[in-house]
């Protein structure tokens, strides 16, 4: 029989290899799934995963004037990756502390709502400087929403997984009410949506002819800052200790409650910022669907990035490729959108399974029983 034998030291090589193995296994399993759906698996996987990567590669390697025509897909991948990286980086820190904020979707929505309130209430002709308070309010909205599970956990010991998740439904319903009530555009022909944001509240586009916007700077900046914090500061050390060995942390004088507050406000603030950024960059109005599912997909991003903020940046790109590939496959192969969700779920399964190899060695013991 097969048994797991603990390694004396966790394998560093496998810790880095495991996401790669998991992605490959997902491609194989995905190919089988596509074959079962009677789609040519190789062709489908090419559209799904390799085409975006291929175009990305062409854009990177070709001389500038030729590369321009391959700019569209890479820029779209990055645009998708921005909210995923912002949320995923925060969740990586949160999960490191062994605090399970799985309600980032609600914090994202709350951030978009609070920021959107400013955008809709601002005087006519507001300039781009308004973007600063807009984004700050987004982060505050997310922090406020995350403060609820933090407070209930610290004060009443209520499970943060369930509380934060329940609040995602509350936030979605609140947004639904707002865009059908107080925030509704009176000239909107009865559609449940707010009026469009003024130009001052739209994220500036960085590269002409694409949708690549300023958010990419925030995403990279946040990842760098979080990475520095985790690797180089006392606060990062505290988060890691409280996650791995809370009793040891308590003896070192760290407070469990303070860590819970810190990581929930941090991840909530980043999710709220992501919500404000995304709404201002893409739909530029409030509507019932503002892609809050990024909050859930970012969980996969955090794990794919080894719960490391810089890793989450890479993880966000991988998941963004699966989104863009999914959209291409919907058009080219008439593949349903749900396939993307299956791929993303499988990726996390394989990743968690492969992570076992970091701590354990698989041994074949022949036919004898233990």
């Amino acid at each position: 029989m097969l048994v797991l034998e603990p390694r004396p030291q966790p394998s560093r090589a496998l810790a880095l290899l495991s996401p790669v193995i998991a992605i490959m296994l997902t491609l194989v399993a995905g190919g089988i799934l596509l074959a079962l759906m009677r789609r040519p698996p190789v062709e489908a996987l090419r559209v799904y995963f390799f085409q975006p990567v291929e175009e990305f590669w062409l854009w990177l390697t070709l001389p500038a004037e030729e590369a321009a025509m391959w700019l569209y897909t890479p820029s779209e991948v990055v645009v998708k990756a921005i909210p995923l990286a912002l949320i995923g980086g925060g969740l990586a820190v949160c999960f490191r502390a062994n605090v399970w904020n799985i309600g980032a979707a609600g914090q994202y929505t709350a951030g978009a709502i609070l920021a959107g309130w400013l955008a809709l209430g601002a005087p006519e002709g507001a300039s781009g400087i308004w973007l600063v308070p807009y984004l700050i309010l987004g982060a505050i909205g997310g922090m406020a929403w995350a403060a609820i599970p933090a407070f209930l956990r610290v004060r009443f010991n209520a499970n943060e997984i369930l509380v934060s998740l329940m609040l995602t439904y509350v936030a979605a319903l609140l947004l639904d009410w707002l865009v059908r009530g107080p925030f509704k555009d009176p000239a909107g022909f009865g559609f449940p949506e707010s009026k469009a944001f003024q130009a001052g509240f739209v994220m500036p586009v960085l590269v002409e002819t694409t949708r690549l916007h300023l958010g990419v700077v925030f995403a990279i900046g946040a990842a760098l800052a979080l990475w520095l914090m985790m690797a180089r500061t006392m606060k990062g050390f505290e988060v890691r200790v409280m996650g791995a060995a809370p009793r040891a942390g308590a003896f070192a004088g760290f407070s469990r409650d303070r860590t819970i507050w810190f990581v929930l406000l941090l991840s909530g603030g980043l999710a709220g910022l992501a919500g404000a950024v995304e709404v201002s960059a893409t739909v530029q109005q409030l509507q019932p669907n503002i892609s809050a599912e990024y909050g859930f997909v970012a969980i996969i991003v955090a794990f794919l990035g080894r719960l490391n903020p810089m890793g989450a940046l890479l993880g966000a790109l991988v998941l963004a490729v699966s989104y863009i590939g999914g959209e291409n496959a919907q058009i080219a192969l008439k593949l349903p959108k749900a396939v993307t969700g299956i791929f993303q779920g499988m990726l996390l399964f394989f990743l968690l399974g492969c992570d076992t190899l970091i701590r354990f060695r698989v041994r074949w013991l022949g036919r004898r029983t233990l």
Binding site: L4, P6, W100, I102, I148, L152, R155, F156, N157, A158, N159, I161, L162, V163, L165, M166, L167, Y169, V170, L173, L174, D176, W177, R180, G181, F296, V297, I299, I300, F303, P336, K337, A338, V339, T340, G341, I342, F343, Q344, G345, M346, L348, F349, L352, G353, D355, T356, R359, F360, L370
Partner: protein
């Protein structure tokens, strides 16, 4: 009021089924956060089976089987490969949302006849009590019977004692000669089958149709119910009916002329879940008394 109570009993059934299954898994020390995903896959497979075969019995069985298969994926990754249970459960939910959406593609917008009611002529329709308590479909009573059976199994049988022992202290259970992993597999699969049944109830009886994400967080509410019930099957029954009553407010509140927007009434079950968690969790003695001590912790036999 009569209609309110009838719809409450119906709405409680999926919560009761899913929470009872999850309670068994948690008592064995397994925290499976994938209830929502297992319910969704159960719902869509049951609906597809019903529209293909027309047999409600086959459809219910297929729903339970689908939930069981989903739980098997969880068990392999979390119990055999010792992965983090919280993360694996989340993956199961994400996977279940995608898988159910894919399977259910061709079934959106189709309506089926709801499950047949067990009417007893002359009894179930003549009195108000009869109309409220009798004359539901078989699964309403099956859910109650299941909760009773689980209560008896956990409290009164040797196997139930072994299951609780493994959940409270897996090292001791192992030392006593129990196969910890096998017991946890069985409990997890039972939980999956129950979640599949709960999903089947939603798509066959509660609203006889398939819609993406039709569980709308009921899987998560079932998880909260287990905490609310402090891991006691009898209290799960009470909790499920209480929560169902809150859920139904969104449909009856407007009929009764409450001046509250429908979205706020729809928030009620989620807010009530949070309040219930707070009320139960603040009393450490209440939660610690029955909470399985080894919940969520992986087990590997050392020798």
């Amino acid at each position: 009021m009569e209609n309110f109570l009838i719809s409450m009993i119906i709405a409680a059934t999926p919560l009761l089924l899913a929470a009872t299954g999850e309670l068994v898994a948690e008592r064995s020390g397994v925290l499976n956060l994938g209830v929502e995903g297992m319910m969704l896959v159960g719902a869509v497979v049951a609906f597809a089976t019903a529209s293909a075969t027309g047999s409600p019995v086959l459809a219910v069985a297929a729903g339970a089987g689908a939930g069981l298969v989903m739980a098997l994926i969880f068990a392999v990754i979390a119990l055999s490969l010792l992965a983090n249970q919280a993360a694996t459960g989340l993956a199961l939910t994400i996977f279940g949302i995608g898988a159910s959406g894919l399977i259910g593609q061709g079934f959106v917008g189709i309506a089926l006849d709801p499950l047949g009611k067990l009417a007893i002529p002359g009894v179930s329709d003549s009195t108000m009590l009869g109309r409220i308590l009798l004359g539901h479909d078989a699964m309403v009573y099956l859910a109650l019977a299941l909760a009773g059976a689980v209560a008896w199994f956990l409290a009164r049988t040797r196997a139930g004692l072994a299951l609780r022992a493994v959940g409270d202290n897996h090292d001791s259970g192992h030392a006593l000669g129990y196969d910890v992993v096998a017991i946890r597999y069985a409990a997890t699969l039972f939980g999956g089958a129950c979640a599949g049944l709960a999903g089947a109830y939603l798509s066959l009886a509660y609203t006889p149709m398939w819609a993406e994400n039709m569980t709308a967080g009921r899987g998560w509410i079932a998880l909260a119910l287990v905490v609310f019930a402090t891991w006691k099957p009898g209290r799960v029954v009470a909790g499920a009916y209480l929560f169902a009553a809150v859920t139904q407010l969104q449909f009856y509140g407007q009929d009764w002329g409450w001046p509250i927007p429908s979205q706020f009434l729809a928030m009620a079950p989620y807010v009530a879940t949070i309040l219930a968690l707070v009320i139960i969790s603040r009393d450490v003695n209440l939660t610690k008394a029955n909470a399985p001590a080894c919940i969520g912790r992986p087990f590997r036999a050392e020798r």
